[in-house]
Every structure is written in C-alpha cells, then in structure tokens.
C-alpha cells in the first residue's frame, strides 16, 4: 500500500487534502492495546443486556422454526400462487447483506484502499454470520427438512441424481462455496491476531485455545511471503464470488418466465443491491462498534464519509436499474410485463413499490449533503431506510410478480402469518447475537493489517518492486 503522502503542495485547498485515516498518535503497540484488550476483559453490563435481547429474539425465531417443522409450511402464508414469500425474501436479503463484507475485505484490498483495514475484520465476520442466517431459509422452506440432504449429489440405490439444470441447485453450490471461502479468508486473516492474543494473555484457559487456533504462528518472514500470496489470491477469488454468488441467486428468478422476473439485468442489479444493503448494515455496526468500543481514533470520520459515499453511489445505480427495468417493461410491448410493472406501483401492494423507491433511491440522496455524512442520526436514518427498502424490494419482486402473473383465475392476495414475521425477526436476532459474541471474543479490527499501513510502518529504503 502507498505510504501516507509526506507533504502537500503549498496552498492546496483543505477540501483536496486526503483526510487522516487515524487520529492522534497511533503505534503498533497502541493498536494492540486498544483492540486486543476486549477479548481479555469482562464486557460492560450493556453488552449483556444487548445479548440478552438479541438472544431472546433469536430464540423466538428458532421456536417458530420448530413450530414450522411440526405444522408444515402451512404455518406460513405461502399458498397458491405466491409459493415463495418471506422464506426466499429473507434468504436473498441475508445473502445480500453478506456481500458488503466480501467487497470490503477482498475488492478494496485489491484496489489498495487503506481505509479498509479498520473495518475489514468485522465486515467479513458479518458476511459469515449473514450467510449463516441466509442458509437457514432454504433448509426450512422445503416441505421435508429432514431429507434436505437430497440436495447433494450422492450415489444412491434409487439411481437418482440432483438436477444440475436447476438454478436452485446452483444456489446450493454457490452459497456453500461462498460460506467456505469467506470462512477461510476470515480465518487466515485472524491467525496473526490470534497469535498476538496468545502472547498477550496469561489466562490458563485462553492461552492454549489461542495457541491452537493460531497454529503456532510466529511471524516468520518466510511464512509472511506465502501468507501474503495466499491472501491476495483469496482476495481475487472472493471478488469473483461477490459477482457470482448473488448472480446465481438472481438466476433463481431470472431463469423463470414469471413476468417481472425474466429480466436480463437481474444479475448485475442484484449484485449492486446486495452491496448496497450490506454497506448499510456495515455502517450501522460500524457506528455501534466505534462508539461502544471507543475506537474514534482508528475508525475516523473519513471511514464514515467514504461508506456514505459508496451507499450513495450504489443508490444511484439502483435508480438506474429501476429506470431501465421500467423502460424495458414498456418497450417490450408485452402486456403481462406491463401489468406486473403497473402492479408494482398501483396494485394491492403498490405501497411496497413506493416504499422501495423512496427508501432505496430518494432517501439516500440525503447523503449528497456533507452535514448528513457527518451526523449519526442522518446516517442511521438512511441506513435503516436502505435496509427496509432492500427487504421490500425483494418483497416487491417476489410477491407482486407471483400474486398476479399470467392467469387471472389464479390471482390471489398474499397474507403473511405471525410465524413469518417471527422468523424474520428471529433471523435478525441470530445475526446480531453472533455479531455481539464476535465482538466479545475476537479482535474487531485486523491489528496486523492496520499496523502494516501505519505511517512509518514500512521501511523507507525498502526494495522497489522494479
């Protein structure tokens, strides 16, 4: 990565100066002290309160999942013709949230954006937890979850194989690959930090655990060169996954011929939407971590500003996608497509369509204003709006397209049940419980990556890469 510019040309206007990524005097030792003290010490009381609340919600969700196993899918609102509803909306929503973490840790690493160091670790952890939450839904939405292993191709006496021509099976492979790769990437990044924890702690219980998990890492230069190579290769591979996983999820819809689903722009549109929703969630967690753990000198105004700018950019791309979809719906001269698109904004669920547009395209435009990019209430408002808007976008795509498609005699109204709502809420509970546990147990900032980019960290007379 590039060293901090040593001096600006004289008279450079303030607004053009690259803002500081750290505030105050930050040394490798101080980074360790600030970040690595949390896994060792008892958490404050409010952490316990938070975990209690989120676990309670998670437990409610899991109880309702158990109830669904017992009753069957009839416990949900899914019925003809809306056979996919909250289950798939939640799945796509959570997989989307995960993409921001991968973009931050992988793509920004490849682009050498140093501001990623302070947020990559917990963003990547959020990816893993989001994918875990997402993975629940395909498993529970099948009618017989106890035979869900039939999704995997294994030789059997019935001579049957899985249907490789179905995008639902591509999903199985894509999401499980995404989970494995994210886990591997995250764990590799953790190894040097776990080694630091191993060497800091005196606890008889924690030291062997950290020692085993850090695999005896000792920071040898010989090891670092292979490690760096593996890291950049994994970053490149994870970048491929960011594009492909949500594209495969979009194929679930785009390969069908349901009007409103069969749009070729779905793959890039879903990827952009995923990054958009994920960044909003990361922004929320970022603000909480920054305040709760007093990391103002490591997570600075610049980080918040640049996150807001990415959210704004993605919002504009979403606007583009909406305009193009609307135009193509007219241009296609296909009456079914016309009807579905009019339904998006004027039908029974037209309010959801307007909510989506407002939350995804209109409200984030507030971030054009510097005041909004610098104030927590505005940022949290926009982030919450984006989260709601992106959930409702999937609702609009799935429920509205399904409830009135080709055959008017099959048109019905969809009503979600309390179980639906409860499981959705429960998934948020599971996600935030995992995030809170992670913050308690593991370092939320990648200390070794941060240290490597501090001013003066790299030798001035280091060999040039010719």
């Amino acid at each position: 990565m590039n060293p901090e510019p040593t001096s600006f040309p004289a008279g450079l206007p303030e607004v053009l100066r690259a803002p500081a990524l750290t505030v105050g005097k930050v040394t490798p030792g101080s980074v360790d002290d600030q970040v690595l003290r949390f896994p060792g010490q008892a958490p404050p009381f409010k952490w316990y309160v938070a975990v209690a609340c989120t676990s309670a919600v998670a437990a409610l969700g899991m109880a309702l999942i158990g109830y669904t196993f017992y009753r069957g899918i009839g416990a949900w609102g899914n019925t003809s013709p809306v056979f996919w509803a909250f289950d798939i909306i939640n799945f796509v929503f959570w997989v989307g949230i995960g993409h921001a973490g991968t973009l931050i840790s992988a793509i920004l690493f490849l682009l050498r954006k140093r501001w990623r160091n302070a947020i990559a670790r917990f963003a990547e952890a959020m990816t893993i937890f989001a994918v875990m939450c997402a993975g629940i839904f395909p498993l529970i939405h099948v009618g017989r979850p106890w035979v869900a292993f039939w999704l995997l191709p294994y030789p059997n006496q019935r001579g049957l194989w899985t249907n490789f021509r179905s995008p639902l099976l591509w999903d199985v492979f894509a999401v499980s690959t995404y989970f494995s790769v994210s886990l591997m990437f995250w764990y590799l990044g953790l190894i040097p930090d776990l080694a630091s924890l191993r060497d800091r702690t005196e606890s008889r219980i924690r030291k062997p655990i950290y020692a085993i998990l850090s695999l005896g890492w000792r920071g040898a230069a010989n090891h670092w060169r292979h490690y760096e190579k593996a890291y950049i290769l994994l970053a490149g591979l994870a970048t491929g996954l960011v594009l492909s996983v949500h594209s495969v999820v979009s194929f679930d819809f785009a390969t069908s011929i349901v009007p409103g689903w069969h749009m070729t722009i779905f793959p890039p549109y879903f990827v952009v939407g995923a990054v958009f929703a994920g960044f909003a969630m990361v922004l929320v967690v970022l603000i909480v971590v920054r305040e709760a753990m007093d990391l103002h000198n490591l997570i600075t105004d610049f980080h918040l500003e640049v996150m807001c700018k990415v959210i704004l950019g993605m919002s504009c791309l979403m606007g583009y996608a909406y305009v193009i979809e609307g135009f193509t719906a007219w241009y296609s001269m296909n009456s079914f497509l016309h009807h579905v698109f009019m339904n998006y904004i004027t039908g029974t669920y037209g309010w959801a369509g307007w909510l989506t547009i407002t939350c995804n395209v209109l409200l984030p435009q507030l971030l054009w204003f510097r005041k909004c990019r610098r104030s927590y209430p505005w940022m949290l408002l926009v982030a919450a709006a984006v989260t709601v808007g992106m959930w409702f976008e999937r609702f609009v795509i799935i429920v509205i397209s399904l409830h009135q498609d080709y055959l008017p005699s099959a048109w019905r109204i969809y009503k979600p049940t309390l179980t639906d709502y409860g499981i959705l809420l429960g998934s948020f509970g599971i996600f935030f419980t995992l995030v809170l546990l992670f913050a308690r147990v593991l370092p939320v900032i990648a200390t070794s990556e941060m240290k490597a980019d501090l001013p003066g960290a790299q030798p001035r007379h280091g060999a040039d890469h010719e």
């Binding site: 030789p155 630091s196 005896g216 230069a221 003066g456």
Partner: protein, 377 residues
C-alpha cells in the same frame, strides 16, 4: 546443556531491521530468518527468499476444479441417468457453467488456504523455539526480530559471535534460543497426512459405493407413499369374515344406466307417454338406432321381412300389422324393455331416450307404409 538453536536480535522499527539484514548476512554465520508483527515490504528479497509458488498451484487446482465439475455434471446429467427437464437437453453445457465456476473457486480457495498453511508454511507447528522465547510477545506486538540460526555442528563459539554481529548491526536486545526437545505430534505433517488420507478414503468409498449401487437392483424412487393403509383391488382383508377385500354391492344397488323400468308387464308400460318431442333430430336418432338394433329382424320398413335367412327359425313381428298400429307408444316401449316372445330385452342396448326415439321412428314407419291422402298435404 542445550545446544543453541538460534540467536535472536530485537529491533524497534522496520527500518532498523532492514538496515541490519545486509550487515548480518555479510558475516555468513548461518541461515537468517526474520520475525515481524506484520509483513515488511522487501524483507523477503533482502533475505533472498524465493517467490512463493502458491499462484501456480492455485491456478492448476482451479482449472482442475472447473474440469472436475464439468465432467461430474456431464456424467450425472447426460450419461448416468439422463432426464430431459424443462425442455433442456441433458447435456446442456450452459447450465453447467455456474457450478463449474463455483467449484473452481472452491478448489482454488482450499489450495490457497490449506496449501499455504500445511504445505508451504508447515503450520501448525507448536514446538518452535521462538514460541517459547520471551521475545515472542514483542514480536507479535511491535518489535522486529532477526534470528541467526546455527548450522549443523556450529559448536560453542557460535552464540557469542552471532551476538556480537547482531549488536553491531543495531539490535536492542539479544536472546539465545535453545534447541527444542521432541516435537509434538500435532504438526503440519500429521495434519497433511490425515487430510490426504481422508480425501483418498472419501474418493475410494465414493467410487466403490457408486459401483455397488449400480450392481444392486434399483429401488423405486419414492416408496414412502406406495405402502398405504388402504384396500387395494383383489387384495386380502382381515376385516371381513370371508377374507376377501372386494365386496359385492349392497342389495338394492342400481348400476348406472340400468335404472329399473318401473313396470313389470306390457300392460303397465302401455300407460307411459313418449317424453321426447317429434323433431327431425329425434327421428334421425330413432332411425339410426332402429337400423342398428331392430332392422335386423323387423326389416328396414318394419314389415317383418328381415335380412336374416329363413334358417333363423323365429318369425319377427310385422310392425305394419294393424294390431301393432294400435299399440300405444308405451306398449312399444314396454316391448323394447321387457322383450316379447323370442325378442330379448333391449334395455341394456338402448338407453332410455334412444328407446323413445325408436318408438317415434316406428310410428313414423307405420304411418309411411300406410299413408293416407291427407298426409301428402
């Protein structure tokens, strides 16, 4: 007395370390290794460490992954159990591409991660002398170490010479690392061998199972719903005393299309009135049915001259005869349903409305053969 494994010199900054490396290297005391809290640019070049071969390994395994996925999907979809779904040919390569890509990334990732850890770095290794040193705490925090490792048979003079060299190069602290005792069992080599063994075992057992299920007769795919607590046709039943599952219908059951006529004799039938109107359609139907069923015996004109040969024996009635002309519609209907003398009952052959249509037609035949002048008007 412990042999010295290495002498460790600690520095406070990356710059200091980088300046020290060429100085110590020039003394040719032994293999050099550096320990840092984060990767320092240019250090690997200064220590003359070769480029990592990981990229090539990952590329090869990635391509292998893509090919494996393609062949696997092709074999399963197009060769082993080809089914056409959604109108797509079993060998549709377009459908195989997404999974090919994902499996390629999966293979490449595991090569990068596990290859780096197990093969190249030989991690986990828990017994390395540096891990037992006091210096390790500083190394993972914010200090930089340069270790001069003793060569085979270096002797007692190695340690002081190395110490002096490191101090001359600017080291703040020096530490001697004794050679380790026995290495622990949970090392990288052990994990490598275990993983390789597991992988081979999976592959072998998978292929064996695949071959085995090919030899055993195929079970029906979904047998859960075949075995139901219901009575199948011609099955035994323990519920009924005679053990038969199939039962006769209850007394008084009427088969469809076989409603009882409601009269027992021709006289009773004579009171019935023809419910069908006398329309051309009804007459056409009556003619069609008459020609099929009745003309055989009663003749095309209803005059009892049949197409049967005289050898038949019975003499069919001449419907043009005056007594038949006097029959009411109901009486003719009764003859059809109950039969008359040698004529069997035609109730099973003619449904109710066909019978009445035939009655209309017979009436029409009678009038046609015995036309009066007024009929021509």
């Amino acid at each position: 007395m412990n042999e010295t494994f290495a002498v460790l010199g600690l520095f406070d900054s990356a710059d200091a370390l980088m300046e020290a490396v060429p100085k110590v290297k020039a003394r040719h005391l032994g293999r050099l290794e550096a320990y840092t809290p984060y990767p320092v640019h240019g250090l690997d070049r200064a220590l003359e460490q070769r480029r990592s071969p990981l990229a090539g390994m990952v590329m090869v395994m990635g391509v292998l992954g893509a090919l494996t996925a393609l062949l696997f999907q092709y074999w399963i979809s197009a060769v082993d159990y080809p089914i056409i779904t959604g109108g797509k040919a079993p060998s549709s390569w377009q459908a195989f591409v997404p999974i090919m890509f994902e499996v390629m990334v999966l293979f490449a990732t595991f090569t990068a991660g596990l290859g780096m850890l197990l093969l190249l770095n030989r991690l986990p290794t828990f017994g390395h002398p540096v891990l037992q040193a006091k210096a390790i705490r500083g190394i993972t925090r914010d200090r930089f170490a340069l270790a001069v490792e003793a060569e085979e048979g270096a002797g007692d003079g190695f340690a002081p010479v190395a110490r002096a060299a490191l101090e001359a190069a600017g080291a703040r602290d020096i530490e001697l690392l004794p050679a380790p005792a026995r290495g622990p069992w949970l090392t990288a080599g052990f994990i490598q061998k275990s993983l390789a063994g597991i992988a081979v075992a999976c592959l072998v057992s998978g292929l064996v199972m695949y071959g085995a299920v090919k030899l055993i007769p195929v079970l029906p795919p979904m047998s859960h719903m075949e075995d139901q607590p219901r009575l199948d046709p011609q099955a035994q039943s323990t519920f009924f005393k005679d053990g038969r599952g199939m039962r006769m219908p209850v007394a008084g059951t009427v088969a469809r299309g076989f409603m009882p006529p409601g009269f027992a004799s021709e006289d009773e039938a004579a009171r019935l009135v023809n419910p069908l109107p006398r329309t051309p359609a009804v007459l056409a139907k009556g003619r069609a049915e008459y020609q099929i069923r009745c003309a055989v015996c009663h003749g095309a004109l209803g005059n009892g001259i049949p197409t049967l040969s005289a050898a038949y024996g019975a003499k069919p009635a001449n419907l043009q005869a005056p007594n038949f002309q006097a029959y009411s519609d109901g009486r003719i209907y009764g003859a059809i349903v109950l039969g008359k003398n040698a004529m069997p009952s035609y109730a099973a052959d003619l449904p109710e409305d066909a019978r009445w249509a035939v009655v209309h037609y017979v009436r029409a035949l009678q009038r046609a053969q015995n036309a009066k002048d007024e009929d021509l008007k």
